[in-house]
C-alpha cells in the first residue's frame, strides 16, 4: 500500500522543519486529529507546531476537511494554519 504523504505550510512547515514527508499509512479509520497527535508526540518542532490542534486546519487530497475526518484512502494530507489569502 502506498505511503501517506504529509505536507506542511506556513508556520507549521517552519515548525516541523520540512515541506513534506511520507509516513507509513495508518488504518483507514485514523482521523487527521489522530495523525496530528502522533506527529506531535515526536516532540521538538513537531510538538511545538502540532501540539495545539485548535490552531490547525487540514486538507485531504486537496479538499479542506475538519480534523475529525478519517484519512481513509487519501493520498495526501496537508496541515497548515487558517488561511490568510486575498
Amino acid at each position: 500500500m502506498a505511503p501517506l504523504i504529509i505536507i506542511y505550510f506556513a508556520w507549521v512547515r517552519e515548525g516541523v522543519g520540512r515541506d513534506e514527508e511520507q509516513v507509513e499509512r495508518p488504518g483507514p479509520d485514523t482521523t487527521v486529529a489522530d495523525l496530528v497527535a502522533s506527529l506531535a508526540a515526536r516532540g521538538g518542532g513537531y510538538a511545538e507546531a502540532l501540539g495545539d490542534s485548535a490552531r490547525l486546519r487540514a486538507a485531504l487530497d486537496q479538499r479542506f476537511v475538519p480534523l475529525d475526518t478519517a484519512i481513509g484512502d487519501a493520498r495526501e494530507v496537508a496541515l497548515f494554519p487558517p488561511v490568510t489569502g486575498g
Partner: protein, 152 residues
C-alpha cells in the same frame, strides 16, 4: 468567460477589465488588493498550496456563476515576495446587472480571504517576520454568504 490565474508575476488590470467589458454585459465590477506598507513592513511573502489552489478557486468561481447571472469572472492571485504597493489579488465580474457584478466581487474576495489556501508572512525593516493571523471577521464575512457546495 472564466479566467483563473495563480501566478508570481504582476498582472495587467486594464487587460483583465477590457476582456470583461467586451462581454457585452453592461456592467463590470472589480476589486484589487494591494500590499500596505504599514508598521515598517518591507515585504509580504505569500505561500500557497499549488496542487490545491487552482481547483479550490475554480470551485468558488462556479459557486459565483451559480448564484449570480454573470457573463464572466476573472480572478488573479499572486504568490511569492511582494513589496508595499504591489498588487496581490484581482477579482472582476461582468454582468447585465450592476448589483450582480458588485455583489459577486464582494463574495469572491470574501471567500478568497478565508477559503483559498494562501498564507501571508510579513517581513519588517528590522528583520523581524510574522505570519499573518486569520481574522475572525474574515471568516464571519464568508459565512454571511452561506455555505457553499464542496467548501469543506
Amino acid at each position: 468567460m472564466k479566467r483563473i490565474a495563480i501566478q508570481s508575476d504582476d498582472f495587467d488590470v486594464a487587460g483583465e477589465l477590457a476582456a470583461l467589458e467586451a462581454l457585452g454585459g453592461g456592467g463590470v465590477a472589480s476589486f484589487t488588493g494591494i500590499v500596505r506598507g504599514e508598521g515598517g513592513l518591507v515585504a509580504l511573502e505569500l505561500e500557497h498550496y499549488p496542487a490545491m489552489t487552482q481547483a479550490q478557486v475554480e470551485r468558488i468561481v462556479e459557486e459565483a456563476l451559480a448564484r449570480w447571472p454573470l457573463l464572466g469572472v476573472s480572478i488573479i492571485h499572486r504568490f511569492g515576495r511582494l513589496e508595499p504597493g504591489a498588487r496581490i489579488v484581482f477579482v472582476g465580474a461582468a454582468s447585465r446587472h450592476r448589483t450582480a457584478a458588485l455583489e459577486s466581487c464582494a463574495y469572491l474576495i470574501d471567500w478568497l480571504k478565508s477559503h483559498a489556501p494562501f498564507w501571508k508572512k510579513e517581513h519588517f525593516a528590522d528583520g523581524a517576520t510574522q505570519w499573518v493571523e486569520a481574522r475572525a471577521e474574515d471568516e464571519a464575512k464568508a459565512k454571511e454568504w452561506g455555505e457553499e457546495r464542496g467548501r469543506e
